[in-house]
């Protein structure tokens, strides 16, 4: 009998990778415009690899594949992976399965930043960098930074509890400020509300390429931190006696996960549910080791969000549903099924 868990993990990871590929292919070939499926796949291969496959697509169809569908699918992969990986990391760092990537105030800070941009009319500006994205990013990081300062002021040991409580306080404060601004600028409510529901709206490859480098670096760092998260699971005292620098590890993981979340929020708004439920579902399906949870969350989060976005843009086509509505509408029942199945084992 092979006692080592690595073999099982490898087969799960291969399955996860296949799920992402299948979701991406499905999302690429389905859309409001009828384009031959083989042509979509051939064009995608031609664009993304050195290979050349002949296809009969028109220039317009090629443009739809390259400028609309592909960037949106890739953005879905990045945002889904980012939110799910950050959620898994937060759940490990805070030893709390109810933790999500917005725990330390990223959502409230990002929301305030985006609202400031909208009420000042920056949302209509054009240019290489979207002012709303920049404002949301700065707001999100400011909020986490403030949470950290308040948490450390209250407890020099930077315990998980003090940080969570600081996050609640800072998020409440930022939400109050955001609501105040929103109420004072009723004309912008629709724009703000749409941003809050999240979306993978792209204009070519700009958003995707902005998120790509941060997402790759942060996801790699977090995916190799699974063992550290497993050690943290035995509590600060035992983890310290096992040789882990608990404080330093917690700082590194929270900073990377927060940076990743803030970057995702900046380009996609607040997409609820993914960061909480995906790692939770992965834990129920594949066990409690973060060496499995983190990489599988990357795959499941990416595939799940790509499929949700497909539903969001096709169910009411040509209109679009907010993706946050779809993630909750399909994710919640699925999670209940998983929960019942796990409880019955």
């Amino acid at each position: 009998m092979n006692l080592r868990p690595a073999a099982a993990r490898l087969s799960w990871l291969v399955g996860g990778a296949l799920f992402v590929v299948a979701a991406c292919v499905f999302a690429l070939v389905v859309g409001p415009t009828d384009i031959p499926r083989s042509g979509v796949l051939a064009e995608s291969v031609n664009r993304l690899t050195p290979l050349t496959i002949d296809n009969d697509l028109t220039e317009t169809q090629r443009s739809i594949v390259w400028n609309l569908r592909l960037p949106r699918v890739v953005l879905g992969v990045l945002v889904g992976a980012a939110l799910a990986t950050s959620g898994a990391t937060y759940q490990g760092v805070f030893r709390n399965p109810l933790a999500d990537p917005y725990l330390l105030g990223v959502a409230a800070g990002g929301g305030l930043g985006a609202t400031i941009a909208f009420v000042n009319g920056w949302g209509d500006a054009t240019g290489a960098f979207d002012a709303v994205q920049i404002a949301a990013f700065i707001g999100a990081l400011t909020s986490v930074g403030l949470t950290w300062i308040v948490g450390v002021l209250g407890d020099q040991s930077r315990s998980a509890t003090s940080l969570i409580l600081a996050g609640v306080a800072v998020a409440s404060f930022f939400t109050a400020a955001q609501t105040f601004l929103q109420q004072r600028n009723a004309d912008d409510i629709r724009q703000i509300y749409t941003w809050f529901l999240g979306g993978l709206t792209t204009s070519g490859w700009d958003e995707t390429l902005q998120l790509l480098p941060v997402a790759i670096v942060c996801v790699i760092v977090l995916s190799i931190s699974g063992r550290t998260l497993d050690v943290l699971a035995v509590g600060d005292e035992e983890a310290t006696m096992l040789g882990l620098s608990v404080g330093r590890s917690r700082v590194l993981l929270v900073v990377v996960a927060s940076l990743l979340t803030a970057s995702a929020v900046a380009v996609s708004g607040l997409i609820a549910f993914v960061g909480l439920i995906v790692p939770h579902t992965v834990r129920l399906l594949f066990g409690p080791s973060f060496r499995t949870i983190v990489p599988m969350s990357i795959a499941v989060g990416a595939g799940f969000l790509v499929l949700c976005d497909l539903a969001a843009r096709t169910i009411l086509s040509p209109a679009e549903l907010p993706i946050g509505v779809v993630t909750a509408f399909f994710g919640a029942p699925f999670f209940v099924v998983i929960l019942r199945t796990a409880a019955a084992r």
């Binding site: 497993d230 035995v234 005292e237």
Partner: protein, 265 residues
Amino acid sequence: MSRVTLENVGVSVKGTTLVEGVSLRVESGSWLSIIGPNGAGKSTLLRAVTGVAAFTGSVEVDGRPVADMTRRERAAAIAWVPQTPVIPPGMRVFDYLLLGRTAHLHPLATEGRSDLDLVESILEDLDLTTFARRQVSTLSGGERQRTVIGRALAQQSPVLLLDEPTTALDLGHQQDVLLLLRRLQQENGQTIISTMHDLTLAGQFADHLVLLAGGSIAAEGDATSVLTEDHIHNHYGARVRVTHEPDGVIVVPRTLTGLAQRETP
């Protein structure tokens, strides 16, 4: 093999002195058991040796102050088996033992073949191979304690600290765990420091006993010199009968009848 030396060790928490002026020398490959009534400072002293509790004085392993060691160096020198370890829900035995390799790996590295081989050999040595894929939380008390000791062995530390290693175990499992520790001491030459509540077992298995009372050493030496009726009465407030048998010093609580007989002039 490593020698542990404590010099005038004291621990205070928020102005309350828990341990004061403790000086000890634990020879390489020997087993010291710290006994004493509840609140005597046994666990606190052990936590000071691990470096988890802030202390005054000096604790050295092979002449090197623990306070000067990094966390990883300390974990490579001293392994700790806590009284009530935190068992992460759902964690499997193999993964739990792998946690013991933390001090030997870069923070972002993963275990290599040698680490996996070591864990497999420890599982075999502790008769845990059949439980490798079981969740730790589903094991019996004795199996779970062997698993926690297995994690400590995976640290490959020459010094093993155990806080009440036989608590909540039945008599058979208490003997199993203590025999295992004796084997590790004799075969691997590990230096063992444990706290114990069962005085008879402490006397039977440890080479040296320290009776702690009110945070200070009240008596130390071999079982015969420490486990006396007077010491136990004075520091535990218990009336016991101490007999010397071929199996060691036996401490038996007196029954009411026995107490009456003893106190009758």
